[in-house]
């Protein structure tokens, strides 16, 4: 990952983490605040409902109290307890209920036998469960009616007869009227749930209709065990429109759950706000990311680009292009670094030029020394011969012709020797530039091996070929490289006079093609290794000493490298690395 990408990722992470942290904290605090408010509102509404129930119960109790003291009722009580005919009072409860605006009223014997019933007139003679003797407060009850059961606020009052009591049991329906009378704040919901029959499906829900009506039943049923439960009710199809709902069981006088009161507080404002916070956080994060990209781009422009330029320039220098310069920029440490880099390259170029010049001078000096040494050899005999001729003419004129004849042949031989030395030097100086062709190195090596096969056999040498079949064709001058390989093979043969193994190996190293020529000869000393590519340097009795110099020159013209690995007694390996792709020569414009 580049510096620019790392910077971008780092800035983006910082922005995202910061925004996420803030959003999460705000969301948590908001939720806590909303839940507190909802709890308070729920408690207030529950208190209001309980107060309303209490008021309704008190009203029912008072109504029944007035009814029980009514003269006609007391007269009826007296008659009924005095062996009166109950059938006379069949319609009495209906009339009284209508008059006192009660939804339920029954006149009942002390043992619970119904004398008259307003809500179910046909139920005369049947028994109803009577509340506890000390039950003076009104209570909730599921009163049986012909259609099933109805939730009612019921009170009981005794009416004294002649020697015993009868009872009036009456009350009012707890229905939508009661729920509608409550002041319910916006966002709050009240439902009343009760079972209307023996089947679990027979139920009634009083209150606003919602999308998931079944969820009200389910929550209420869970509270029918007698304990409060909390759950969620989906109000509308909109996902956020839910209410946190408390289900509170309402018990009758026998302790059985008569109905379940559900009070809900809408979570919509909280959920909407949380969504809003989330959306804001995402927006801020997105803007932050864009800013991060912008900042990273700006930083890249100010910092990473110069660094990348420096890195690129360094790679160019490694590739040999020492002439590269870096844009210094202004005023920053990187600008100083760029200037220092440019200064370094200038110095390197100068030093290289000086080195090249020095090496050139040294090479010329060496060449001149070697040439002088080579030339001196044949020149001395020439001088002696000419001096002999002069002495012979002076001292022995009669032997002059014979001495002249011997001397001239010596002179001609040494002059031929000089011509040879100068001819080879001339050849060395006229090494042609490579003419590149895409050629299989393996095939070329096989040709050289075939060429020298007879000599291998004669000299009892073993040839090992380890050629990489995956090595593709490379751009080389086949003639020059053939000469190189041939030279090195001949040197290896000369290094193994007693026989041995010659190994020819090719390998694809990725960027380059490698050729290794290994012999098991006597090896080279460190001094010999240093000087082996110097012109006219030789370890052999015969030879001009230019062979390896030519090899190095050809390899260098191909933009390759040649190295020698050797130790005395352990053989020698020449390693040639040639580029697999043509490299354009910047100075000459030629491609190698």
């Amino acid at each position: 990952m580049s510096l620019r990408q790392r910077l971008l990722v780092m800035f983006a992470l910082v922005v995202v983490i910061a925004v996420a942290l803030v959003a999460w904290t705000v969301s948590l605090r908001t939720r806590a605040a909303f839940e507190k408010i909802d709890q308070e509102r729920t408690s207030a509404l529950v208190a209001q409902i309980k107060a309303e129930f209490q008021r309704e119960g008190d009203e029912v109790g008072q109504t029944l109290g007035r009814l029980a003291t009514r003269e006609s009722v007391q007269q009826a009580a007296f008659t009924l307890t005095h062996e009166g005919d109950p059938s006379n009072y069949l319609q009495e409860a209906s009339s009284l209920a209508q008059e006192y605006q009660l939804d339920f009223l029954e006149i009942v014997q002390a043992d619970g036998t119904i004398i008259s019933s307003a809500q179910w007139p046909a139920r005369f003679g049947y028994k109803r469960p009577m509340p506890q003797a000390d039950q003076t407060q009104a209570f909730l009850k599921n009163e049986e009616v012909p259609d099933g059961a109805a939730l009612a606020m019921i009170a009981t009052r005794p009416v004294q007869g002649s020697d015993r009591q009868i009872f009036v049991v009456g009350g009012k329906k707890v229905d939508r009227r009661l729920i509608d009378s409550l002041s319910v704040a916006p966002g709050m919901y009240v439902w009343l749930y009760r079972q209307t029959g023996s089947s679990s499906e027979a139920s009634e829900i009083i209150g606003p209709t919602v999308a998931a009506q079944n969820s009200i039943s389910d929550l209420a049923k869970s509270a029918e065990g007698g304990k409060e439960k909390t759950g969620y009710i989906q109000i509308s199809k909109e996902e956020n429109d839910r209410a946190t709902t408390q289900a509170m069981p309402l018990k009758d006088d026998s302790g059985k759950v008569a109905a379940v009161l559900l009070v809900g507080a809408s979570r919509k404002p909280l959920l909407d706000l949380q969504e809003h916070i989330k959306a804001m956080a995402l927006t801020v994060a997105a803007i932050g990311m864009l800013l991060a990209i912008g900042v990273s781009l700006w930083i890249a422009a100010r910092f990473t680009r110069p660094i990348e330029q420096l890195a690129m320039a360094s790679r160019e220098i490694a590739d040999g292009n020492w002439d590269v310069q870096v844009e210094p920029g202004k005023g920053t440490e990187l600008a100083q670094l760029a200037e220092s880099f440019n200064t370094m390259t200038h110095q390197l170029i100068e030093q290289r030029e000086r080195l090249v010049q020095t090496e050139r001078v040294a090479a010329w000096r060496e060449l001149a020394r070697r040439l002088a040494h080579e030339l001196k050899n044949p020149l001395f005999p020439l001088q002696i011969t000419v001096e002999n001729l002069v002495r012979a003419r002076e001292i022995a004129p009669g032997e002059f012709d014979e001495i002249f004849k011997e001397s001239t042949s010596t002179l001609l031989a040494e002059i031929a020797n000089l011509k040879t030395i100068i001819g080879r030097f001339s050849d060395f100086s006229k090494m042609p530039k490579p003419q590149l062709q895409t050629v299989s190195l393996n095939e070329l090596v096989r040709q050289v091996a075939t060429l020298h096969a007879a000599q291998f056999k004669e000299d009892k040498l073993k040839l090992v070929m380890q050629l990489d079949d995956g090595l593709s064709k490379i751009p080389i001058d086949p003639d020059l490289i053939h000469r190189v390989v041939s030279n090195l093979v001949l040197n290896a043969i000369d290094a193994m006079p007693q026989g041995g193994t010659l190994t020819l190996r090719t390998r694809d190293t990725g960027e380059r093609a490698r050729l290794e020529i290994t012999d098991t000869g006597t090896g080279l000393t460190p001094e010999e290794r240093e000087r082996i590519f110097t012109p006219y340097y030789t370890t052999k009795q015969h030879g001009t000493g230019l062979g390896l110099a030519v090899v190095q020159s050809v390899v260098s013209d191909h933009h390759g490298t040649i190295n020698v690995n050797s130790e005395p007694g352990r053989g020698t390996t020449f390693v040639i690395d040639l580029p697999k792709r043509a490299i354009e020569d910047a100075k000459s414009g030629a491609t190698a």
């Binding site: 059938s87 006379n88 069949l90 007139p121 005369f124 012909p146 259609d147």
Partner: protein, 447 residues
């Protein structure tokens, strides 16, 4: 001391002044008007308005004997497949047209569900032909729904009765004494009948003098008496029965029908709802008509009902309908549902009209002839009836048992019906048919 003639004259004058008015107050007077309120429809065949305006060919008395009415005599031919009635001469319809055999044949022909195939005039005779023998045909033609009347405007009949329609609306009619009535002028000059009036409203009108005669349902008789109304009641001539729907697939189950029938608590219906006005009905005819009704079981058999219910598996909820305008029938229906619930059968009660498995019906007896009354009752309820036959009591009993065996028809109670009259009404009583006796009733003339 001897009284002088003058003194005797004064004394006798004084006595005459006191005695004669007293006797005048109890002597019926012609020309009064009567305001009657009823809860049923105005031209109900069993109703007052119809009874005053329409007459039948014959009349069956309390002993079950067929008496001449519009027809003076009749003769059976072709083994009771043909009956020839001689029409009373000199009769006139309320519109003045003569009552002839031909006119009556016009009225009676085309009658749906009638027991004759054809009715034709033959001089002064009216000839009925039928496919099956009808030995009790003369008693059958005495049924109120075979009254002889032409159709008038707004459904008001043009009959031959003691009263004729002089004004009518859909719910009320003013009847005026028919001067040419063959059986004597009515004591009353006018009778105003207001129909479709709730019982409670009738009583209120009676109380404030807006009505002279109001109905009193059987279950209200005791209360009416307690409120010091002048109540007269009929015999127990109205059957209250539980009818099971023959077309309901649920009610095809014989065990279910028997279970429902066995669960009924007639005693509570009679003693409480109808305030002991009436009698338990084990049969379709009341005891006073059949003589054997007491032999038929009436007691609730809850154990039998539970036993049958246990064999039923999971019966569906049954629907029991009742007349929404009849509070007593609603109570009866709810009580039956409660009793069935004790046996484990669920019945829900709804007011008619609605889809029904069971229904409560009130049917009034229409004849003093047991066979005619029974078959007419069965026909009215909608069950398969037969041609009434002059059979023995034993056969009649078997016929009833056969009708009751399937439990499609469960008789519950026989109750009376009553009327209450205001102070203006004198000679207040009901006739043998259970309606106010308009031959005797008279009212004070309003000044």
């Amino acid at each position: 001391m001897k009284r002088t003639a003058f003194q005797w004259l004064v004394i006798s004058s004084l006595l005459t002044t006191v005695i004669v008015p007293a006797q005048g107050r109890t002597r019926p007077r012609y020309g009064g008007s009567l305001r009657v309120e009823v809860s049923g429809s105005l031209w109900d065949p069993d109703g007052i308005a119809r009874r005053l305006t329409t007459e039948t060919l014959t009349h069956v008395d309390e002993q079950g004997r067929v008496q001449p009415w519009l027809a003076t005599k009749w003769e059976s031919q072709n083994r009771d497949k043909r009956w020839v009635f001689t029409i009373r001469p000199g009769l006139k319809f309320h519109d003045g047209t003569p009552v002839t055999a031909y006119a009556i044949a016009q009225i009676l022909n085309g009658c749906a569900g009638c027991p004759w195939k054809t009715a034709a005039a033959a001089g002064e005779d009216l000839v009925f032909d039928m496919d099956t023998p009808s030995p009790l045909f003369p008693a059958q033609v005495a049924l109120p729904h075979f009254g002889i009347a032409k159709g008038g405007t707004g459904g008001a009949p043009i009959g031959t009765g003691p009263m004729r329609v002089t004004q009518s609306t859909p719910t009320s009619a003013t009847l005026t004494a028919f001067d040419n009535y063959w059986n004597g002028h009515s004591l009353l000059e006018t009778v105003e009948v207001t129909a479709s009036r709730k019982l409670r409203d009738q009583w209120l009108d009676l109380g404030v003098g807006r009505a002279d005669v109001a109905e009193v349902a059987a279950e209200q008789v005791r209360r009416a008496q307690q409120e010091h109304l002048r109540v007269v009641t009929s015999r127990n001539d109205e059957l209250i029965a539980l009818v099971m729907n023959d077309a309901s697939s649920t009610m095809q189950n014989a065990n279910l029908r028997e279970a429902v029938a066995a669960s009924v608590d007639r005693a509570s219906l009679l003693n409480v709802i109808f305030q002991r006005q009436g009698e338990l009905a084990g049969g379709l005819l009341p005891t006073w008509l059949s003589g054997y009704a007491a032999a038929l079981p009436t007691a609730q058999n809850l154990s039998r009902a539970k036993e049958l219910r246990a064999q039923l598996g999971q019966p569906p909820t049954l629907t029991l309908t009742y007349d929404a305008n009849d509070a007593a029938l609603q109570l009866v229906a709810e009580r039956i549902a409660l009793s069935a619930r004790e046996a484990g059968i669920t019945i829900r009660t709804v007011p008619a009209p609605a889809h029904w498995d069971l229904t409560i019906s009130r049917v009034r007896l229409s004849s003093f002839n047991p066979s005619v009354a029974l078959e007419d009752l069965v026909s009215t309820i909608g069950l398969e009836h037969r041609t009434p036959d002059d059979v023995s009591t034993e056969s009649q009993f078997q016929r009833e048992r056969e009708l009751l065996k399937s439990n499609r028809l469960v008789p519950l109670l026989y109750v009376p019906h009553g009327f209450a009259a205001g102070e203006r009404v004198h000679s207040w009583k009901l006739d043998e048919g259970g309606l106010p006796d308009f031959d005797e009733i008279w009212t004070e003339v309003r000044r």
